[in-house]
Amino acid sequence: MPASIKLQQQYGDALQVLFVESQGADADKFEAFAWRQKWMGTQAMWTDERPLEISGSGLPAFALLDIEGKILLQGNPLEQKKKIEEAIAEQVKKASSAPAGTPAVLAKSWARFTKGDVAAALAECDKLGTDVILAEPAKALRAEMVARTEAKITRGQWLIESGYAAEASTLFASLAKSVAGTPELEGKVGRELARLKAPDKALAAQAEASKALASLQQKMVKDKPFDDGNVKALLKLAEKHAGTKAGERAARLAKLAKLEP
């Protein structure tokens, strides 16, 4: 388990670790367990639903999906530690490469895109796309860049609506730099940033609660997550920010802390 968490920490957004509880514990129980073990606090996701079946039985077990979602490796992670690390490194590198079939001259634009310079990458595609030979691949690559950026914007909108204002602010601040000078994306990002900077009363309350909970959770993962001080702080936050989504999450975490280990 800690090995997967270390990999998530090491690769950040370039890798997604999904923990699948496989011994019948419900969501409350496995989340409480993970908090107590200090396994929370990364981008890893947790579920009790098996997205796929793998061969063999018993725990621990793993499956590594490539960037297209196909199984690359599976089995006992303790027996394949090195292979898993190498395969992840290779896939992360592959993910930053341009889609298959992209001409070399356009691959440079993709490299810019993956480094976060979306505006420059799109401008290059437009420029290179004036060449008859490159017109079609440049158009396809541009469309892929726009689609991926719009997916991030959609994710950010979900964060705002779901009371994760702190996370949404970080995402949109980064996106604003990336798309500056690209009207088709700059406008969309700007609108969300404006919502975050001058929110209506309800959104402001959600944002304040979200920031307070994010700060408390950072503290929780560093020391004993469910000690009395943290539980009291969670309850206080839930009371102060009653009616907000972060307030609901704080109340739920306080409830998890009371579950039998």
């Binding site: 998530q8 796929l52 999906l65 979602g69």
Partner: protein, 65 residues
């Protein structure tokens, strides 16, 4: 075919159907098509595995016991 044989034939068809489904579900990109019934903890809006395409996904099967 008597009643017992019909029941056996039905059971065989049922088993065949199950086996076929298992094979289909075990396809290469099965993991990329799954949609969660309930959003995973810390999913930040991700509802299906398709949304994770473009990055490697390490699925860690674990237990609380």
């Amino acid at each position: 075919m008597n009643a017992t044989n019909w029941k056996l034939a039905g059971l065989a068809l049922l088993l065949l159907g199950t086996a076929t489904w298992t094979t289909a579900a075990g396809g290469d990109d099965e993991g990329a098509r799954y949609t969660f019934r309930r959003a995973p903890v810390n999913s930040m809006g991700v509802r299906g595995m398709a949304e994770l395409r473009g990055k490697p996904v390490l699925i860690d099967f674990w237990g609380t016991r």
